[in-house]
């Protein structure tokens, strides 16, 4: 007993040292995160339960409980509609973007001359998809399908397709621009994911007589399942925090209205956030179930 006590103390010390250094690595990020992300988010929760008014020298908070949340659905005649419309659009967009990114990255993973150039080109939209450039382009563009008018594609489409069909084609084209632009990072993640599968596995199944089609379904797709779920998450987050989306615009507008104010805007943000959270929870739940099933079988 007396012999093991110093030994145990030494072990404890050793642990504390290792643990402490590991924590030190985390520390700067933790401080920054809590000061500029966690606390503001919590604060907005606090504000969403209050009527916030600007008075000389600061803010005045009046506790009104869930009134703001109730107003969002019962009084506001813009917010619920925009929320639902945007959600419908996004439910369509997210799978399309991920599948498109998967296809493109599969093709880009093939061996062909100049593939590095093309990989770079498909990553290029990343520099539009954020902020300044996009809003600059949108502000110069027109309405909902900003670029098609400027590129003068509509007469072209009308000429070749004609009539009512042209409208549908234009809508799809309008989506395609967004899909192309929003799949930059996803394509990159997929290509990186494909590199994690060792080539010897492909060689082995080829010797066993599997066609490329089989090896895609049996090897590539299961191996890149974690990346599919990562991409799903990334796409959802990317689309929902898109600076020009109508719901966020509505929230921003409410922030500077005198009668509604920050409290109401925060409540709207939290409702929006709850919807996204539910969506993400469903997606991660589905993926983790399918992945654990696969692991169980193996």
């Amino acid at each position: 007993m007396s012999r093991s006590a110093p030994y145990r103390r030494k072990a404890m010390e050793h642990h504390a040292k290792r643990y402490g250094i590991g924590m030190l690595f985390m520390l700067p990020w933790m401080i920054g995160f809590s000061a500029f992300v966690a606390v503001p988010v919590g604060w907005s929760m606090f504000m969403s339960l209050h009527k916030v008014a600007v008075v000389p020298g600061g803010f005045k908070y009046d506790w009104i409980g869930l009134q703001n949340y109730r107003d969002a659905f019962l009084k506001d005649n813009v917010f619920p509609i925009e929320l639902i419309t945007y959600f419908q659009q996004m439910l369509l967009m997210v799978p399309v973007i991920v599948i498109f990114a998967l296809l493109i990255s599969l093709l880009l993973n093939q061996k062909f001359p100049g593939r590095f150039v093309y990989r770079a080109l498909f990553f290029l939209p990343v520099i539009f998809a954020t902020g300044q450039v996009l809003s600059e382009l949108f502000s110069q563009g027109a309405g909902d399908i900003p670029f098609l008018d400027q590129y003068n594609l509509e007469p072209l489409v009308r000429q070749y397709v004609g009539g009512e069909l042209a409208k549908t084609v234009m809508e799809v084209l309008g989506r395609i621009v967004l899909i192309l632009w929003y799949s930059g990072v996803q394509i990159l993640i997929f290509i990186a994911g494909f590199q994690t599968v060792s080539p010897s596995i492909y060689e082995a199944v080829r010797i066993d007589g599997a066609s490329p089609w089989d090896s895609f379904w049996k090897i590539t797709l299961p191996a890149s399942m974690p990346f599919v779920s990562l991409n799903m998450l990334y796409t959802i987050i990317d689309l929902f925090t898109f600076p020009l989306n109508p719901v966020l615009k509505h929230i921003r507008d409410n922030m500077f209205k005198v009668d509604t104010g920050y409290g109401y805007a925060s409540a709207l943000a939290w409702i929006y956030f709850a919807f996204i959270f539910a969506l993400i929870a469903i997606v991660t739940g589905l993926f983790s179930r399918s992945m654990s099933k696969r692991r169980g079988r193996a």
Partner: protein, 288 residues
């Protein structure tokens, strides 16, 4: 060049179709860039042409000339904004890379209390659009007294959840055997971090550098909210105020087009610099 052409000619039909398809898609994707460039060189009458033309018909440098004339009349010189932007960018990039990689290393490779909580908090905060927390942020920044300092620009974007989110995924791909081996060879945390984690997560670091550059370079929020002194604001803010001041002004549209190009070019340069790193190291990395 000739060798490359010969290689293309010797491509199989499948490869030929692939190249053809990708060329078409790539051309479609680079349309916005071409538009920005050609828009900046359009003379006044072409900017207001309806229906708008895609390509410039009579390119001119007048837009840039009037932009610089306008800038030289401002109270704070143009170079001051540029200097601020460069200082803020380099500080932010360096600190975001170091801080997030360190955090991702610990989060991906070690088990400790509250790890699940921290990870879920990162995912949660990703979903929160930054606009909605700008007021609490302002209160915090002015509470600590960071108004009108460079820290006020750098610190709010320091703890980027996106960067850590991407890096955790990447760092956890680094095989544990590699880290074990380094530990047996006597490497400490710092050694493992600097010699193994940093080099092996280079592609992810390059990606987050591009993303961070985009957000910081185009960010007007910190300049608008945290900086009251004009001399501490960044180039993006200057261009933005120029644009919004000129929005309803017919004469200002040409300056807006030129400024749009000028603010876009650094994005393109940084992208071209880093993307090679991203793609190269992704393919040649020894990670399995």
């Amino acid at each position: 060049m000739i060798a490359r052409l010969r290689r293309i000619r010797s491509a199989s039909p499948f490869q030929a179709v692939l190249i053809g398809g990708f060329t078409a898609l790539a051309a479609f994707m680079s349309l916005p860039i071409i538009f920005i460039f050609s828009h900046a060189f359009k003379p006044q009458n072409e900017l207001f042409l309806f229906p708008p033309r895609f390509f410039v018909q009579h390119p001119t440098l007048r837009n840039f000339e009037s932009l610089f004339l306008h800038a030289s009349n401002a109270t704070v010189p143009f170079t001051r904004y540029l200097f601020n932007s460069i200082v803020v960018l380099s500080l932010t990039l360096a600190s975001v890379i170091i801080v997030s990689t360190m955090a991702a290393y610990v989060l991906a490779k070690y088990r400790f209390h509250f790890k699940a909580l921290i990870l879920s908090m990162i995912t949660l905060s990703l979903m929160f659009a930054p606009e909605t927390v700008s007021i609490p942020r302002y209160l915090i920044v002015s509470g600590i007294g960071l108004n009108n300092t460079y820290f006020g620009h750098v610190l709010p974007s320091l703890a980027s959840p996106v960067a850590v989110f991407m890096l955790v995924g990447f760092v956890s791909q680094i095989p544990n055997d590699l880290i074990e081996a380094a530990k047996i060879d006597g490497a400490g945390h710092v050694g493992i971090f600097a010699r193994i984690v940093l080099p092996l997560s280079a592609p992810a670091i390059a990606t987050i550098s591009i993303l961070t550059f985009q957000t910081v370079w185009g960010d007007v929020e910190t300049s608008t909210l945290f900086m009251q002194k004009e001399a501490m604001r960044t180039l993006a803010f200057y261009v933005n105020s120029l644009l919004s001041g000129l929005q309803n002004n017919v004469a200002g549209q040409n300056m807006a087009a030129a400024a749009g190009l000028l603010i876009f070019i650094p994005n393109l340069i940084i992208f071209l610099l880093f993307q090679r790193k991203v793609l190269e190291s992704m393919v040649h990395s020894g990670i399995k």
